[in-house]
Amino acid sequence: MIQKKKKKSRREFLKMAAAGAAGMLVVTLIPKPSSGQRIHDIEEAGQLERAPDWMEHYYAYVVDTTKCIGCGACVRACRRENDTPEEYFRTWVERYQITDTGHVYIDAPNGGHDSFPPRDVPGNVVKGFFLPKICNHCRNTPCTQVCPVNASYESPQGAVLVDKKSCIGCGYCVQACPYDTRYIDPRTHTADKCTWCYHRITKGLMPACVTVCPTKARLFGDLKKKDSPVKEIIDTKRVMVLKPELNTEPYCFYIGLDKSVR
């Protein structure tokens, strides 16, 4: 018995040594920003580079409406990650169905949280798509402009945030947001909104909704990195923003935005 054990452990030692060597090889292959790894690959892999200086980031969000399948995983992930109140949404998905008669049918049952049950609309649907929405993290943002106590503010990284310890709960920012992405949290009586999962991106993680999107319809990246996929899309593709006539300068860009979108 004892001899057998000794033989086995020798074999196991060799196995472990081989596994260790293979593991070390894998570790060396994991992208390391400091080693000159391309940002493109890091963001593609669902991570964010965390620069030594946190001020060296400026983020943007891209929604590819042609890829969204309306599964609602993003809405569920957001709810779990951010503990949003029952009736409100930091992100949601809308379904558009446009018939040959020019009628536009829009719905977002429970914000798309439970995906979209089949819906029959009168007439022949000739165009249909899903449209994810979040806070647009505008540069010329009406919500931070109107906040009387600076509780709503823009972070140096481009995220529009709310300091819940300062918010007086007047609701002016909720009224000012043209995209209706803000609400008064009934539990805290303060304004609440999408933060791009600020607690995650500060740790080099993607926002929850981006992480779980199975079709990569939601993208997030650093505009200060030259080879960021998000920067590449914004720079080279035809992107659009919601309600451009209001000059809020959103930093949530849309690919394939339809003229019917509200």
């Binding site: 009736e87 409100y88 949404f89 949601w92 809308e94 446009i98 008669t101 020019g102 009628h103 536009v104 049918y105 829009i106 719905d107 977002a108 429970n110 914000g111 929405k133 009406p142 931070t144 402009q145 109107v146 906040c147 009387p148 106590v149 600076n150 300062s166 918010c167 007086i168 709960g169 007047c170 609701g171 002016y172 909720v174 009224q175 000012a176 947001c177 043209p178 995209y179 209706d180 992405t181 803000r182 609400y183 008064i184 805290t188 009586h189 303060t190 209001l246 003229k259 019917s260 509200r262």
Partner: protein, 397 residues
């Protein structure tokens, strides 16, 4: 494209409800009452003398209660003072605390100088603790010779001169808060501050007119047909101005026929059909305008004039409240998708419900009752002496 109804998921609640309806109503009455005092003290409109000091007290009573509905509305009223100590200078509300305090200070000073003579007389006649309190309220200066009185009147004149723009800013301010929101087409119009200001003036004039008739009937104030006619004329003029502003606003939306008109027209023809066209414009504004016009066009006798003025004032007070409702609540009855609508039915016992709104609307009347127990509603007595003392008043007969 023809849209079927759709509201954004977060558009499930009305955020600004009865408290935000009540605040501009109270502050509007404050402005209207002050404008009467301003016309007398600042512009020497002597026919308004019987209500000159009383309207100051009305203005103060409503101003002192104006912020209470706002505090009741806030999610964190304990942080309200942050608006004063750490304001966002880019925010329209950011300046509210300062504007409010400036006007409150001016109004209190005007009242203090206007009542100084009387308080001095009361202090001289009093004894004990009451005397000490009155002396303290006068800052221990009991000098009331004719020269001091003349200085007091000049100070009041200049305070009124500063008070008029402060009052206009405070009253029109709430209109700016709404008018500057580009997210809401029903609110987003440069006319909005003027609509709020003029309607506020109307409501203040109407309430002071009602009080004047009431106090006159019970002999607390001298009955002056000239005063009543002036109040009536001011009411008629401000009503006409208000009609023009409302018409300009609606015609502008209609003629521009932008995306906004789709939601505004739908809003007016569905959710606000009854409250806007029937209650505000028809019952409130229409009846009041007809009555006010009849008062002058038909050359009625004094008694009929007074009765018509009283009824018209009630309708105007109703119209202005409906206007506040239709603007504040009406602007939230549609989603920012511009193709979805919702209902709002205020509850009686909510924190911002009907009972709270009634209490906050009636509270200034309680304050006024207390204030008029302490200070006389009668005008300053020595008008002739005042003019001979070199006051810079300009007399308009």
């Amino acid at each position: 494209m023809i849209y079927t109804e759709f509201s954004f998921p977060n558009d499930s609640h009305i955020i600004w409800s009865l408290m935000i309806v009540t605040y501009p109503y109270i502050s509007g009455i404050m402005a209207g009452a002050f404008s009467i005092a301003a016309l007398y003290y600042g512009f020497g409109m002597s026919s308004l003398r019987p209500v000159s000091r009383f309207s100051l007290l009305v203005s103060f009573s409503f101003l002192s209660c104006a912020t209470l509905p706002l505090l009741n509305h806030l999610g964190h009223p304990e942080r309200a003072f942050n608006v004063m100590i750490m304001p966002n200078h880019r925010s329209a509300i950011g300046g509210f605390g300062y504007i409010y305090m400036v006007f409150l200070t001016i109004l209190v000073l005007i009242i203090w100088f206007s009542y100084r003579d009387e308080v001095i007389r009361a202090a001289n006649a009093a004894t004990g603790l009451k005397k000490r309190i009155l002396e303290a309220s006068l800052l221990w200066n009991l000098n009331s010779d004719s020269q001091t009185q003349a200085v007091d009147r000049i100070v009041v004149f200049y305070l009124v001169a500063f008070g008029i723009p402060s009052m206009a800013v405070l009253s029109g301010y709430v209109g700016f808060l709404f008018g500057s929101l580009k997210s809401n087409p029903w609110w987003s119009t440069p006319v909005m501050p003027f609509v709020f200001f003029v309607s506020g003036i109307m409501s203040g004039l109407a309430l002071v007119t009602l009080f004047y008739l009431y106090l006159g009937w019970f002999g607390h104030l001298e009955k002056s047909p000239a005063c009543l006619r002036t109040l009536g004329a001011l009411l008629w003029f401000s009503t006409v101005l208000y009609i023009v502003l409302e018409a300009v606003e609606l015609l502008y939306f209609y003629y521009e026929s932008s995306d906004a008109w789709f939601v505004i027209s739908t809003l007016l023809l569905t959710k606000l059909k009854y409250s806007f066209f029937f209650l505000q414009l028809g019952i409130g504004l229409g009846v009041a305008f007809v009555l006010l016009s009849a008062m002058f066009a038909l050359r009625v006798d004094e008694t009929t004039f007074a009765k018509l003025a009283a009824v018209a004032s009630v309708y105007i007070l109703f119209e202005v409240w409906m206007m506040r409702w239709n603007i504040v609540v009406g602007g939230q009855l549609f989603s920012k998708s511009y193709v979805g609508f919702r209902e709002y039915h205020p509850q009686w016992l909510d924190q911002e419900g009907i009972l709270a709104a009634i209490v906050f609307t009636l509270l200034p009347f309680l304050v006024l009752y207390i204030v008029t127990r302490l200070l006389s509603v009668h005008p300053l007595p020595e008008e002739d002496e005042m003019e001979s003392a070199g006051s810079p008043r300009v007399v308009i007969e």
